[in-house]
């Protein structure tokens, strides 16, 4: 029992880092994703080309390699990050590629007629975007964003490789002193599961609250 309590406090500390890692990466990803999606939807052909190349390349490289390039590769050019920051940047960049596709789809889902209606009212392009397209696109993005949250949360475990003391690494520290891998790693798995499952339930409730009546979009992607 004593063993359980002492390891629980370490594991909860790791859980905190995992959550922090997830939220900051998603936030960074969301900011970049908006620009990538804008470039793809409204940009000139060369802007569109750069954004698409960015998105395709990041989606085709394993997250572990992205992490290694940022953590071990960038110091070649004199840029050094600590493991946590390197993990946030890698997860954020990779997530921005996926989020840009979610947001692009959502922007395109806003019907053409509404844009034309807004323009005919005399709104400028920028006004149309902020008052008409953006508020709807954000709502459309909520459901697929839950999937993205789940992916990022699960992939924070890969930050283990850089030595970030997140849930899995804290778990491994306990395993190396107690040698109870099955118990400890199952506890880690249970925590990840509770967070993903809880968030999915929470978001689906929130989604109903924010829904525009008559407008429902649900994306199916690997979560």
């Amino acid at each position: 029992m004593e063993f359980f309590l002492s390891s629980m406090s370490v594991i909860l500390r790791g859980t905190g880092v995992t959550v922090k890692l997830t939220v900051t990466s998603l936030f960074l990803g969301a900011i970049i994703a908006v620009f990538v999606a804008l470039a793809q939807v409204y940009g000139k052909w060369w802007l569109n080309f750069i954004a698409t190349a960015y998105e395709r390349v990041l989606r085709s490289i394993p997250i572990l390699i992205i992490m290694f390039m940022i953590f071990f590769g960038l110091p070649t050019f004199g840029i050094r990050f600590d493991p946590f920051i390197a993990a946030v940047i890698s997860l954020g960049l990779r997530s921005s590629a996926y989020q840009s596709q979610i947001f692009r789809g959502a922007l395109l889902a806003v019907s053409e007629g509404q844009i034309m209606a807004a323009r005919s009212l005399g709104m400028t392009g920028v006004q149309t975007f902020f008052h008409i397209s953006f508020p709807q696109a954000v709502r459309f993005s909520i459901a697929p964003m839950t999937n993205e949250f789940t992916i990022v949360l699960k992939d924070t475990s890969i930050a283990y490789a850089l030595g970030v003391t997140e849930l899995l690494r804290e778990g491994t520290y306990i395993v190396s002193t107690t040698y109870e891998p099955l118990l400890i790693y199952s506890m880690c798995a249970a925590i990840y599961f509770v967070i993903t499952f809880g968030t999915n339930k929470f978001v689906s409730i929130m989604e109903k609250g924010f829904a525009i009546p008559g407008y429902e979009v649900r994306g199916v992607e690997r979560g």
Binding site: S60, L64, I65, G73, T76, I158, Y160, P181, Y192, R222
Partner: protein
């Protein structure tokens, strides 16, 4: 740039050794995963209450936890009960189990998108339930699943890099090995990324061709 090419070609033989393991991991796991996925999908759609609950629990548990944790559970805790797996075997098992859960969801969606009337039609010409699933529903469902299945294969290729963390000498591990000797981290890992990228492009292209080839005209 010339420096990159030089480093890349020096590292290439070792990276190719790694690529062999990467492809072996990905191909074996996707095939086992397909078997598991088909079984789970059929249980979820046509099974009784018990098999539905069991297969749903499997899918939710696997999809709700990180692959790396699943791999660690398998690789580090099985020796506790006397089962010692090599890193390669442990990776293949955990990738197959993981991919199976995702593939089950794709196949389930495809099965449900086959018209209901076809099942009834199959029954009415005297087929048993198993025959109609095997001969009528599955051939159509598997065709429909190809696009998402390609996605899954791409995911799996990328996630095989995690096998490096339990000591399989696959592409990422070889890259790490080369880079830690010549200290060309950026160049070597860019090269590794380039290899992943090319493999994925080729596979996506192959499967989109396959999709066109096996398409049922008019459906």
């Amino acid at each position: 740039m010339t420096h990159f090419i030089e480093v890349f070609f020096q590292a290439l033989p070792l990276l190719m050794d790694g690529l062999k393991f990467t492809m072996e991991l990905a191909i074996i796991s996707i095939i086992f995963g397909l078997g598991i996925g088909m079984l789970i999908a059929i249980l979820r759609v046509y099974g009784g209450k018990f098999s539905y609950t069991l297969s749903t629990a499997y899918v939710e548990l696997i999809r709700g936890t990180p692959l790396l944790v699943q791999l660690f559970i398998l690789y580090f805790s099985l020796p506790q009960i006397g089962i010692h797996l090599s890193p390669l075997v442990a990776s293949i098992i955990s990738f197959s189990l993981n991919s199976g859960a995702y593939q089950a969801e794709y196949i389930r969606g495809a099965i449900q998108s086959v018209e209901r009337g076809q099942m009834k039609a199959a029954f009415s010409i005297g087929m048993t339930k198993w025959q109609s699933i095997r001969l009528v529903i599955m051939p159509q469902a598997l065709r429909k699943v190809i696009p998402s299945w390609t996605n899954e294969f791409v995911y799996l290729i990328k996630y095989t890099s995690l096998a490096y963390l339990v000591g399989v000498p696959e592409l990422t591990a070889q890259g790490e090995f080369v880079a830690s000797r010549n200290f060309e981290f950026m160049n070597v890992f860019s090269g590794v990324a380039l290899i992943y990228l090319s493999v994925i492009l080729v596979i996506t292209w192959l499967f989109s061709n396959l999709e066109k080839k096996v398409k049922i005209p008019g459906v």
